[in-house]
Symmetry: C2
């Protein structure tokens, strides 16, 4: 999946454009696509300087716009639609990221700038997981990102897995370093180096920590959010006195991720165990949650590793047990990254743009003075952290005459306060430069779950129109919803719950209709060729798994925790099989 350059019109531009644009047609999609140049410029070359195509584009623009006619610059206009998903899923994905202003390319090949709207989604993920990690007994801390190269070499399969992807610091303070430093691709080695110093006795166990950090992997095929040279993640690291405790912990954390995916992100992931070939470099077992994207490719959305004693043996991380014997600790590590944001986009988005589950929708802090901001912060913080009622609504006021305006604006203003106090995250778009229709499209592109439309007639009737993002057109609209506080709040909360449930239901149906049970390798090949997932009994060898990969492009995504009952026969070998495996092409 090669990278294409994105030209992102800025949010402020979109919201306060020049007047001459008010009459522009909304759909300028061809022009937007035109801004995605060929991918080849981005994958060639190991260095940074040759890949700065976004920069060169910007430069062109600066010079072309040195004339006063700046209103005609392409980026000053809002492209109200994107490449249809069905036409080109990858182009659609990049268009949504550009149009919803989620991210942009950094100057170094494969790096990504996470823009405020995209970053707010990551913050929502962080806030939920952070609470869950603390509830399950983990403390946040921070390990340095520079790791002596020798550390990486200590665990044999770890170095094998990561050494091709390392970024190395060789010069510091103007001098060549005696030992190269690895920019962390993951922190097991440095964690174990420290654990070895902190752990002496069984009383120090379990030791359970987490860090939110950036990590670097020198990937050749990058894609915003899904696979970038540098990305943000959390990595949990724990040490235990027994193998059983470590296994319980690894399972617990994959379950935390699974619940997050289902309940917050409305992504019906399949949780299971990785095959030996797909296990994390250095782990005894890897558990995973696998999500089906809109193009039916699998996305590994989170992993939890039972590391066994692999790292503790490599780093001498020992404790004295209750009998005075020295033992190596048993460990886990587990991670979710900014890749999850890509998963949300590719699960729920449609031709109108991003579609955010209400419980993930980012905070939009409006800048009010004094008291209101405090109230709002408090409410939002409660919502974000307890994550039971994490809604979002945009209000679009509609008026034509100045007379109408004041009544509408007053109504919108009191509505807003009302919703904030009820714990609903709300955004008012009362800019005067845009038509209501433009705003409808814009906020649909941004994926806001609910829209309230309110015009002079609504004010007179003391009612509003409520539109769902997930159901286009009239069927998604509720007309004449009373402004009476208790009625309106109950209606909105119920609708947000409906949307949350509906997104999960829709994604689950899609997933289930695209997983096919297979009983022969021929069947598997046919299913994979259709772009679907294949599920079948498997007890074949690693080399047979490799053969499937080479011949079909599909890998074992996992042995799902949920298994059919009864005796089975491996579809590849005809030998008895204890489990079914799921095969799919993946990101």
């Amino acid at each position: 999946m090669a990278m294409a350059a994105l030209r992102l019109p800025s949010l402020s531009l979109l919201r306060s454009p020049s007047k001459s644009l008010l009459s522009c047609p909304l759909s300028l999609a061809p022009r937007l696509r035109h801004l995605r140049p060929r991918a080849s410029a981005h994958i060639s070359g190991g260095g940074a300087s040759r890949c700065i195509s976004a920069r060169s584009l910007a430069k062109e623009e600066v010079s072309s716009s040195a004339t006063p006619s700046t209103d005609r610059k392409p980026s000053s206009s809002y492209e109200g639609s994107v490449t249809p998903r069905s036409v080109d899923f990858n182009a659609w994905y990049l268009d949504v990221i550009a149009s919803a202003e989620l991210a942009d390319y950094g100057p170094v090949r494969g790096t990504m700038v996470i823009r405020p709207y995209g970053y707010a989604i990551w913050e929502a993920i962080q806030e939920y997981l952070n609470v869950k990690f603390k509830e399950t007994g983990h403390s946040n801390m921070y390990f340095p990102q520079f790791i002596p190269y020798s550390f990486i070499e200590k665990e044999a399969s770890h170095v094998e897995g990561f050494s091709p992807e390392l970024a190395l610091v060789t010069i510091g303070g103007g001098k060549e370093l005696e030992e190269k430093l690895v920019v962390r691709p993951t922190s097991e080695t440095i964690v174990n180096h420290m654990f070895t110093q902190w752990i002496q006795s069984y009383r120090d166990l379990p030791l359970m920590v987490n860090q939110w950090a950036n990590v670097t992997r020198w990937e050749m095929r990058t894609k915003p959010f899904v696979r970038t040279l540098e990305f943000l993640w959390q990595e949990g690291h724990t040490a235990h006195a027994t193998a059983k405790e470590a296994e319980t912990e690894a399972l617990q954390m994959i379950d935390v991720y699974k619940k997050f995916a289902y309940e917050q992100a409305a992504i019906p992931v399949i949780a299971g165990r990785k095959s030996r070939a797909e296990t994390f470099a250095g782990a005894a077992r890897t558990y995973t949650i696998e999500a089906m994207m809109g193009d039916r490719k699998a996305l590994q959305a989170g992993t939890s590793h039972n590391l066994g004693q692999n790292f503790s043996r490599a780093f001498g991380t020992q404790f004295t047990d209750e009998n005075g014997q020295r033992q190596h600790v048993w460990q886990t590590s587990w991670a979710v990254s900014t890749r999850f944001v890509g998963g949300i986009i590719m699960t729920h988005g449609d031709d109108a743009g991003l579609m955010l589950p209400p419980r993930i929708a980012p905070i939009q802090v409006d800048l009010l003075l004094g008291f209101v901001i405090v109230i709002q912060s408090v409410y939002e913080v409660i919502l974000m952290n307890v994550s039971i009622i994490n809604y979002q609504v945009v209000i679009v006021p509609i008026w034509k005459t100045a007379n109408d305006k004041s009544g509408v604006i007053d109504a919108v203003s009191s509505l807003k306060d009302l919703l904030l106090k009820a714990g609903i995250k709300v955004k008012v778009d009362d800019s005067e430069q845009r038509t209501p229709g433009w705003k409808f499209n814009f906020w649909e592109m941004k994926g806001v779950p609910l829209r309230i439309e309110i015009g002079p007639r609504d004010v007179a009737n003391k009612s509003v129109v409520v539109s769902r993002r997930d159901i286009p057109g009239k069927p998604g609209k509720d007309f004449g919803i009373s402004m009476e506080p208790s009625v309106l709040v109950a209606h909105l909360k119920s609708r947000l719950d409906d949307i949350q449930a509906s997104l999960l239901h829709r994604a689950t149906s899609f997933r289930d209709s695209n997983i096919v049970d297979v009983n022969s390798y021929e069947e598997l090949k046919a299913v994979i060729a259709q772009g679907k997932w294949a599920r079948g009994p498997w007890s074949a060898s690693d080399s047979e798994e490799q053969k499937v990969k080479e011949e079909t492009g599909a890998t074992i995504r996992c042995f799902p925790f949920e298994q059919p009952l009864g005796k089975m026969t491996c579809f590849m070998t005809g030998n008895p099989a204890d489990e079914v495996a799921i095969f799919a092409k993946s990101y």
Copy 2:
């Protein structure tokens, strides 16, 4: 300030030690100090491998403890006191960091592992500032940490200031890179590269963003929290249409920092403008908050830069103004880092250890099931974010017989729920391995503002004893405080307010008694030689400022915003002076 190795006993060890340690004397300070080896091993060498003394220490320990007599290992015992502050301030500082388990050394020279208790202080700083940044109109986002080397060279004074401190990635994915990548020391260059693409017109301005990130500066003289090779910070970056707006923004953000220092951290910083010589590399003006540490050295605790058009000219960051003319944007950047944690330690700590202002005291999430955890999370989150009543209390139950125990534990348990519901962050230390006296010392070392002691007699009397961390011994104790909810809660809140105010008052008195007005260079030399700060009228040249630095070791910390009235004469040249400057030795 060379680094010395720290051996940090782990928190869990301290809290559940072997029984044979129960009778150990609390003060084993000489042994702890013994664990600080000579500094020389840490500052020599450019590489990583030679400097891993913590690691070698740990190795020694592992081998020596292969015998079953692990109870006698030094790190299994709690050293209840530290080097007295008055004896050796630097040793005291490192001892507090070790004993309160705030941080440890990383394996690479100059790097630091921030341990959970230290990280929680940083989280409290983050949570407060994050709300303030959003209130003042900034959005969080994330820029990549790898910057093409050519970017750094674009702004002349920027490259001059930062090039000696750069860490460079030269190898990626096993290949030599065409262009070296800088691991960000700060992000102005990459920010401008992106701003150039996002900003087209005056309607895109102001553009106001912030990121929480790690940064790397190859410092030769490091010290935990104060100056480390990698550190955590936030960096705000804004672009404006006019010089005046940028100046207003730069001043606004230094004021946000100043308020945080006074109101939350109880540090009476002096805010002002840096001299030309001390201005940030690439800035037009730098504003600073300067804090006086317990050894009277100055700590630059936060800075806000008016960048003028320096970076926008270097990167061609232009906008079209309302008249259709192309203009370069006016910019600011501003930052606070984990250095602030060092500032808190060195401002308030005493011979008994850390002393935390109640509004900074870290969260202690106790792991209760179900409902309570939600309630607690909600309360804590409100407290942390609104930051009006951000208290902390430790409850130490006291009993001798099993009969006594149940009554005490019941009382403590209901007390705890009560305080949580009242919004007081509370920790119960009911471990059975330690004596109450040991716990008192331990939680004093940890800097917890208030301690509640409760024994069988207190239960019978329905009262408790409340001890202040900031006033040692009997004068700091309130006896017989009723357990009646409203009385107790009011008492605790009032005491926490007292402590917050008292810490600020004490630090302010200390600061003011150590700033001396000078009217001649001779006077300045005498004052600096006494270790104090000198304040005097200054209008001399950069080279005269340099002379002061060379001859006295002191630099101009700032021209404070608060200036005396009337005509003044420069103490150095005898020429008229508009301002006084503050001179001091600094970290």
